[in-house]
Structure formats: structure tokens, C-alpha cells
């Protein structure tokens, strides 16, 4: 029987009722009395020198309160970058300033030139059209390799060139890897593109800045995955507001997928302008603005080489990647192609020698940063594509080649500096073969061929590093923040509980799943426990939600705080029952004395804590509230095996996903329903990347895919029902819940499965195609078939 409450139960989500009845509280639903509206005038050229921005006429327009330009931000801090990468020569990366409003130059389409603040949004928009500006358009750099050539236009005049860093990992392995590849029995080489994507949470970004002059307090309502991080970055580095005078609230947030981690100029602008004008200032992004101002994702160009011995054992791996940073360094951008990518290049395989080179490049495009998976999808795609290509070159079964090279003993220290604690890659592959009915594929291919279609099967594995991250380790790697998480468990007098967590829920269901954990530990009903999140004034300092870290790190902090609660409650119970503390047991919400029939209920103990008439005041304080900060000792390593079956219409090149199966090992699972939902969503995003989505710039830096008319989002009829399984469980050994994280797996594991399937389909039709770049759109597939 499945459990109906506590850990392991598919408890229905309590947050759903407000979302289903239109009573959610998203940032754009917040209107502060007396608020003004801002409209940003954005650059329509990719690169240009600003000669003049004349706001005189606009300032006289009806309803306009003030027009701001870059000059108003002289002396205000730069939008900071949160990670400093050191290159392979020991030099720190080139790090340009990022002003709130453009100063001197515009560097990408969408770079804000001026901001009009007015009584209504339409007045602000009308007035923006009256701003007179004179910008000399300069040649733009869009292609990364072109950007690195001598004499290429510089995105930032004060930097040496457009190279942010040239990173080597592990640099000491470089020569050994070169030698192993030279001496290998077989080398498979693949050049590929990991296409630029736009995260596109359905809720566009919004910021509302408010200021109370009487007590000098600023409040920012914002669509963020991590309000404390925004408070830290904006308060300390941009505006110089101390934490106790700055409150950041991220209420209901309509999806994040990484792009709402970062601190954005619009947040700083609204906070700054509200202080200048002593009135609230609101900005709501349009979708078109989102395409040119939300940080993009992926955008790697890679050459990968896999060396094998005569028995098809992997002997070495070398990969060279160009990673697009865009025009400025977004909050975590430098970490994505390096530490979140290079450290995953071992994948599920015992390849002994690995070398990763990454050149990060500035271009005249929107900044690029973490998008669901962040570095790990890029690692997985290239590795699983090159392994598949190797199998086809060698004429061996792609699944068998993978199985032969699987890591099978744990813990396992990879040659790229991480230690996998647990996993069972054979088990997940076995499970995948079962749920995907790999054995039945040949018959299904025949059916497709009878209809004049080609059918392909693609299989791959993945591993990821989640639960970001041990603070002392990431500090050595260049992080400018700690990556612990926090929780306060506040037990009220009558026994109900509020858990204040530093994690943030923007679709993941924390309000349901987190109480399941505390309820299990205390043996009280889930509905006695509420979660508080998303407000720096109501929660302890926390780092927020990304990198599949909420349960592994935030959940662990909550467990530690709850353990402190239990310890104190047992002391109180021992006093009430006049028994030794060591004999007190807690089960089903009752404290008992071992070996006796004495008991007191949870509520009696909590009441005693707040009405301490009969209470050991000489030994312990009254009250029952505990806080814990949890810093993980390692990453967690979810893994799995995915299979995709596509049908390909040779007349049109159209690919349809007919079946998609995922077998994941997420460690222990709190709410299986929520976990399945996370995988479903990730798969759709991966299928979208593989077949549909593409963020396209022309050679002048014009963004050609800036709306849903041009950027192909996956829709309901682009995907099938999925088959997902997470019954293979190897618990994480180093966090108290044994959990690994599940938020990004679907998006990491699915793109190579789709492309492997497309290549398989094409080859089954006799086409000599060994690779096709994402998205495998009908035109690309047709071109691949027809030369």
C-alpha cells in the first residue's frame, strides 16, 4: 500500500487551491498605493556608441514624473557577478562593469538606454517615444570564434579582448590526455552546437520598488528564486543599502528554470527610483522584453573526442568548448561552462583521463547564464552523443557499449575532481529497458516503415551534480557566496508549526512536500505545519532554489532544526513525566517513557514550553523555536537512463516523439507525484531544445526569435505521454534524508536521447548522417536527408 501521509506519500498539493481559483499572489498582482510605472527604452542595435540621450521633450509629456538615463547612475554600483573563474594560466577572468542603465555604449539589443517613470504605464510608453537619442552603430560580434580573432570589435573597450577566460580542467591531465588519444585504438570525434535557449517561465519578470522615507526602509517585490541573494547583491554591491533597511519579497513566482536566480538591472532600477522619488515604482516585463533581457541559456560550441582501446573501453576524453557569455557577466554565468560542466564530463563512465578546455567569450548578445541543468545538460549532450557515435562507428550496440564502461563501484573519485557517493547505473538501465520496452522496438519500427515513416530509438545515460554546494569547496572554485541553506522551525503553543525556509518554491511544491518531512519526524498531521518562504523579513538568511538543491540542502536544514526541536521537547516531556530524558520516545505525536504506560501528547509539551508553570526553567529556556544552517559536505549525484523513440516523415523532415521513457535514481523520495511532475516538465524542455527551440541572432546581432511567434515553445501536441520511473534508489550517503534532487534531470537527460533517436531513424533509412545539430527542425532534417 502506498503511504497516505508523511515521507513517500503523494500528498496532494495544498498550494493548488489558490492557483486554481485565481487567488495566487504573483508579483504583478501586487499594487502598492501611489505606485508609478516604469517603461525602459531599450537599444534596437546590438552595439553602438551613445552620443546623446535627450530626455527634455519626454519629461514634459503628460504624467511623466522623471526620465532616468545612465548618467543618473554615476556613482551607483555595477550589477555584480557572483563567481570569479581563474583561467588555466592562473589569471582571473576579465570582468567588465555592468551599469544599471547603459553608459557610453549599448552592447546588445535590449540594453536599457533610458527609463521613463510616469503615473500610468501607457503614459510612460508614450513618453519613451519622445526621447531623442543619437547612437552610432558599431560593428557587432555575434559568432564566438569571430569574436576571438585579432582585430574583432571589442564588446568592452577597456578589456584586452573578448575572451573572458580560457579554462583548463584538469590542467595537469592535458598532456596525458593528448598522449592517450594519440595512442588509442579508436577515436571518435564530434563537433556540435548546444543551441542557445530562452528559459521562458510563463510569468514574465516583475519588480516593484517601495520606499518608506520615515524609517529609510526599501522593499522590493520581485520574481526571484532567491530573495536573500537579491538582497545581498543589490544591497551590498549596487545600491549600498544595508540588509536591515532592505526587504526583498518574492511571493508566488510563476516558474524560474534558472533565469530568475540572477540579479537584474530592473530590480535595482525600481528600488533606486523609488528612493529617489519617494514613491513606489513598478515594472512588468512584456514577453518581448523578456526575450531581450532575461538571461539566456546554453550556447556552447564544442569539439569532443573519445578514445577507446581495442576492447572498446574508454581510455580518454578531450573536449574543447566555446561558451557564450553575452555582453555582460550575469550572476553565475562564469560557473556554468566551468565547474557545473567540466566536473560532469566523466558521466557514468570510468574513463580514466579527461581534459576539458572552455573559452568563455563576450559577444553583443543578451547575457547567458544558468538554465535548467546549467552546464550539466551541455556535458551530458556532448558525452552521450559521442558515445553513441562511437558505438555506431564500431558497430556495437550503444546500450552494451555504455554498460561495458559503467562505473560500478562507489564511492568513485572521477578524474574531474568529484566523488560520486552512490549510484547503480546498471539498475537504471535495466529498468529503462523494461519500461521503454526496448525489446519491442523492432516491431514498432516495422509498423512505422509500413506507413512510409522512419523510426529511431535513442538511449542515453546521465549523471548530474545537485545539492549545490559545499561552501568551502565552491569558495576555492571562485564562488563569492556560501551555498548553505537555512530553516527555522517555530512550534506554536498549541502545537502547530511554521517552518521558515531559505528555499523558494516557484512550482516545486515545497508547501506540500516540506511538511511531509516534519510531519514524519514528529508524528503529527501534515496540516499542522505550514511553510513560510520568499521574504527576507520572515525567513533566515538562505540561498534559495536552483541546482535541484531545495530538498537536499534546504530539506536537510529543516531536518536539523526539527531534530533540535525534538531534543528540547524530550527534555520538557521528561520533566512533565518525571522520567529520565534518555528514556523518552516520540512516536505518532506522543511522548512516552520506555517500558511504562506514561505518556504526554505533543500539544501538552508545546503548551508547557510557552506556559512554563511546570517547567525546568533552571535548565532550559521556555519557548520552542530552533534554527539550523546546513552546509552540505558533497554534491549529490542523481543519475538515470532515458529512451526516446521518434517517427520521422521522410517527405517533410518532421520528427515526432512517439515514446519517451525515463528511469531515474533520485535517492529517497518524499512525494512521488511531485517528482514525476518535475521529470515530465524537464523532458518537455529537453524535447523542446532538441526539436524546436532556438534563440537566433543574425550577423548584426539582431534577435530574430523575440516572441512566441518565432521562438517555438513545446505545446501539448508536440509531446506524448511519458513513462517515468524512480524506483531505483541508492540513497545519498551524506545528507540526513538520503535525497539527491530531481528538478533538472529531465532537461539534462532528454536532449541526447532525442538526437540519438533522430540519427538512428535517419541511418535506418540509409542516410549517411552521423550528427544533426539541435533543434532538429523539419528543415534541418530534410536538408540532412537531401544533402
Amino acid at each position: 500500500m502506498p503511504k497516505d501521509h508523511g515521507i513517500g506519500a503523494s500528498s496532494k498539493r495544498r498550494e493548488d487551491v489558490r492557483f486554481l481559483t485565481g487567488t495566487g499572489n504573483y508579483t504583478d498582482d501586487i499594487n502598492v498605493h501611489g505606485q508609478l510605472y516604469v517603461h525602459f527604452l531599450r537599444s534596437d542595435v546590438a552595439h553602438g556608441r551613445i552620443n546623446k540621450v535627450d530626455t527634455a521633450a519626454a519629461s514634459e509629456m503628460p504624467g511623466v514624473v522623471r526620465v532616468f538615463t545612465g548618467a543618473d547612475f554615476e556613482g551607483v554600483g555595477s550589477i555584480p557577478c557572483g563567481w570569479q573563474v581563474t583561467d588555466r594560466f592562473g589569471e582571473v577572468m576579465q570582468e567588465p562593469p555592468h551599469p544599471v542603465l547603459a553608459q557610453g555604449k549599448v552592447r546588445h539589443v535590449g540594453d536599457p538606454i533610458a527609463a521613463v517613470v510616469a503615473e500610468s504605464l501607457s503614459q510612460a510608453r508614450d513618453a519613451a517615444e519622445a526621447i531623442e537619442f543619437d547612437i552610432d552603430e558599431l560593428p557587432a560580434v555575434v559568432d564566438m570564434k569571430e569574436a576571438l580573432k585579432d582585430g574583432a570589435p571589442k564588446v568592452h573597450d577597456d578589456l584586452k579582448n573578448n575572451l573572458c577566460y580560457d579554462w583548463g580542467f584538469v590542467e595537469e591531465n592535458r598532456e596525458a590526455v593528448d598522449k592517450a588519444i594519440k595512442e588509442a585504438a579508436h577515436v571518435t570525434t564530434l563537433e556540435l552546437v548546444n543551441n542557445r535557449l530562452v528559459a521562458n517561465p510563463m510569468e514574465p519578470r516583475v519588480a516593484v520598488g517601495d520606499y518608506n522615507r520615515a524609517n529609510d526602509e526599501s522593499t522590493l517585490y520581485t520574481t526571484s528564486q532567491n530573495p536573500h541573494v537579491i538582497r545581498l547583491l543589490m544591497g551590498a554591491f549596487v545600491l549600498g543599502i544595508p540588509e536591515h533597511k532592505l526587504r526583498v519579497i518574492a511571493p508566488d513566482v510563476g516558474g524560474g528554470f534558472g533565469t530568475k536566480i540572477f540579479h537584474y538591472a530592473e530590480e535595482a532600477f525600481c528600488t533606486f527610483a523609488a528612493r529617489q522619488l519617494a514613491r513606489p515604482v513598478k515594472w512588468t516585463s512584456t514577453r518581448s522584453e523578456a526575450f531581450m533581457s532575461d538571461a539566456h541559456g546554453r550556447d556552447h560550441v564544442t569539439k569532443i573526442e573519445l578514445a577507446l582501446d581495442k576492447d572498446n573501453n574508454f581510455t580518454a576524453l578531450r573536449t574543447d568548448t566555446y561558451a557564450n557569455m553575452g555582453a555582460y557577466l550575469s550572476t553565475f554565468a562564469p560557473s556554468v561552462p566551468t565547474w557545473l560542466h567540466g566536473t560532469l564530463m566523466a558521466g557514468n563512465y570510468k574513463t580514466p583521463l579527461i581534459y576539458v578546455n572552455v573559452k568563455a567569450v563576450f559577444t553583443n548578445t543578451v547575457p547567458v547564464d544558468a538554465y535548467r541543468g546549467a552546464g550539466r545538460p551541455e556535458a551530458t549532450f556532448q558525452l552521450e552523443r559521442v558515445v553513441d557515435k562511437a558505438a555506431r562507428e564500431l558497430g556495437v550496440d550503444p546500450i552494451a557499449l555504455r554498460r561495458q564502461n559503467f562505473i560500478s563501484e562507489f564511492p568513485y573519485a572521477t578524474p574531474v575532481a568529484v566523488e560520486y557517493d552512490t549510484g547503480d547505473y546498471t539498475a537504471t538501465m535495466d529498468k529503462l529497458e523494461e519500461i521503454a520496452d526496448i525489446a519491442g522496438f523492432a516491431a514498432r519500427r516495422k509498423e512505422s516503415e509500413a506507413k512510409g515513416k522512419l523510426r529511431g530509438l535513442g538511449v542515453n545515460c546521465y549523471i548530474e551534480a545537485c545539492g549545490i554546494a559545499p561552501s568551502n569547496l565552491v569558495g576555492q572554485l571562485g564562488a563569492r557566496a556560501g551555498l548553505y541553506e537555512s530553516a527555522t522551525v517555530r512550534v506554536n503553543a498549541t502545537g502547530s508549526i511554521s517552518v521558515m525556509t531559505g528555499s523558494h518554491s516557484h512550482g516545486q511544491g515545497h508547501e506540500t512536500a516540506f511538511p511531509q518531512v516534519v510531519a514524519e519526524m514528529l508524528g503529527i498531521p501534515e496540516d499542522q505545519i505550514d511553510i513560510v518562504h520568499g521574504d527576507t523579513a520572515r525567513t533566515p538568511m538562505g540561498m534559495g532554489t536552483y541546482g535541484s538543491r531545495s530538498l537536499a540542502v534546504g530539506g536537510s536544514a529543516m531536518v536539523r532544526a526539527t531534530e533540535k526541536i525534538i531534543n528540547k521537547a524530550k527534555k520538557i516531556a521528561s520533566h512533565l513525566m518525571e522520567a529520565s530524558e534518555a528514556d523518552i520516545e516520540l512516536k505518532d505525536g506522543q511522548f512516552t517513557v520506555a517500558g511504562t504506560d506514561k505518556s504526554v501528547a505533543w500539544g501538552d509539551v508545546t503548551l508547557a514550553a510557552y506556559v512554563p508553570h511546570n517547567y525546568p526553567l533552571e535548565d532550559i529556556e521556555p519557548g520552542l523555536e530552533e534554527t539550523a544552517f546546513y552546509d552540505p559536505s558533497n554534491f549529490t549525484y542523481p543519475s538515470g537512463a532515458y529512451a526516446c523513440e521518434v517517427e520521422l516523415d521522410p517527405d517533410t523532415g518532421k520528427v515526432t516523439v512517439e515514446r519517451f521513457s525515463a528511469a531515474d535514481d533520485f535517492g529517497n523520495i518524499i512525494n512521488p507525484m511531485i517528482v514525476s511532475g518535475q521529470v515530465h516538465g524537464g523532458i518537455a524542455q529537453g524535447v523542446g531544445q532538441a526539436l524546436m527551440e532556438n534563440c537566433v541572432y543574425d550577423e548584426n546581432g539582431q534577435l530574430l526569435s523575440a516572441s512566441y511567434m518565432d521562438y517555438a515553445m513545446p505545446r501539448a501536441d508536440d509531446v506524448p505521454f511519458y513513462s517515468v520511473d524512480h524506483s531505483c534508489v541508492t540513497p545519498c550517503t551524506h545528507n540526513p534524508l538520503g535525497v539527491k534532487g530531481c528538478g533538472e534531470a529531465g532537461a539534462i537527460g532528454s536532449p541526447p536521447a532525442v538526437i540519438n533517436a533522430v540519427v538512428d531513424a535517419l541511418q535506418s533509412g540509409g542516410h549517411d548522417v552521423t550528427h544533426i545539430d539541435m533543434p532538429a527542425s523539419p528543415s534541418r532534417v530534410w536538408a540532412a536527408m537531401n544533402g
Binding site: K12, R13, E15, D16, V17, R18, F19, L20, T21, G22, T23, G24, Y26, D28, D29, S122, N200, P201, M202, E203, P204, D252, V253, G254, G255, F257, T286, R287, S288, I435, H506, G507, Q508, G509, P672, M673, I674, S676, G677, H680, G681, G682, I683, A684, Q685, S707, Y708, M709, M713, P714, R715, A716, D717, V719, F721, Y722, S723, V724, D725, G746
Partner: protein
Amino acid sequence: MAKVEMTVNGKTVSGEVEGRTLLSDFIRGGLQLTGTHVGCDTSQCGACVVHVNGQAVKSCTMFAAEAEGAEVTTIEGIGGNDGSLSTVQQAFQDYHGLQCGFCTPGMVMSATALLKDNPKPTEAEIREYLEGNICRCTGYHNIVKAIMAASGQDVGAIAAE
């Protein structure tokens, strides 16, 4: 500015609007019914779907003035007066058909309109009908499943977990 009057969720409402005011802006800003969401500016995402005279309509594609005299139902008016959930709303909760909740009002309004016209839609019919509603969280799996369940179909056999 012109006066517009319509019936929204059974109540007569009125307001002053500009000619360019969209119905979605009037519902959100004028009436403070913030359950209707705006997720794009090209009438693609469907987060703003409401019912106008019984038809599912993207409220960003209509001017408020065009709804003069119309019967409008928004997500706030689709459940029972006692706060109970409609069959479709309940199925979305039961089958985890939502995550961040932003597309959800539009999804529920579209699904409700679909089931009115087609009480037992096939999976393919549901997927085609939802072409105009984008969800970034669920991968659509549990949305389609919820709508099939709301129409009384046995989803246990159809949609593998």
C-alpha cells in the same frame, strides 16, 4: 475614455476605459481580478483565457470596449459560490496538472470550454485543443490526464506514471 459595462462572474460591473485598453487589462487592473494572467504579448500563451458569452477567448485579443454588454466568466467565477472547486479544477489538483500555477487559469478555462463542446475528448483532441495554451512546467502530461479524468475517462490505463 469611455464607459464600459458588462457582467463578470454574474455581477454587473462598469468602468472607464481608453479605446486601446485590452479586456485582460480591464479585468486585472480595473476589476482587480488578478487570476487572469498575461504571459505574452502576441496572443500565443493562453494564460489570459476567459469565457465571453460562453466562448473561450484570449482576453488580450479583445478590447474592453468590445465586451460591452457581454457575459464574462473568469477563473474566479468558474468554481462554486461556496468556494468549492469545479470538476476540472478538482481534477487538476488530483492529477497534479499544475506546478507554478501561472498558466493554470487559462488552462482551466480552456479545458472547461472544451468539455462543454466535447464531453469525452480523446487524448489527441485535448492536445490539439490546448495548442493555444503554453505550459512550461508540467510537460502537459498531467494536464491532459486531468482533463481526461474530468471527462469521466479512466486514466489509470491510459497514462503511465
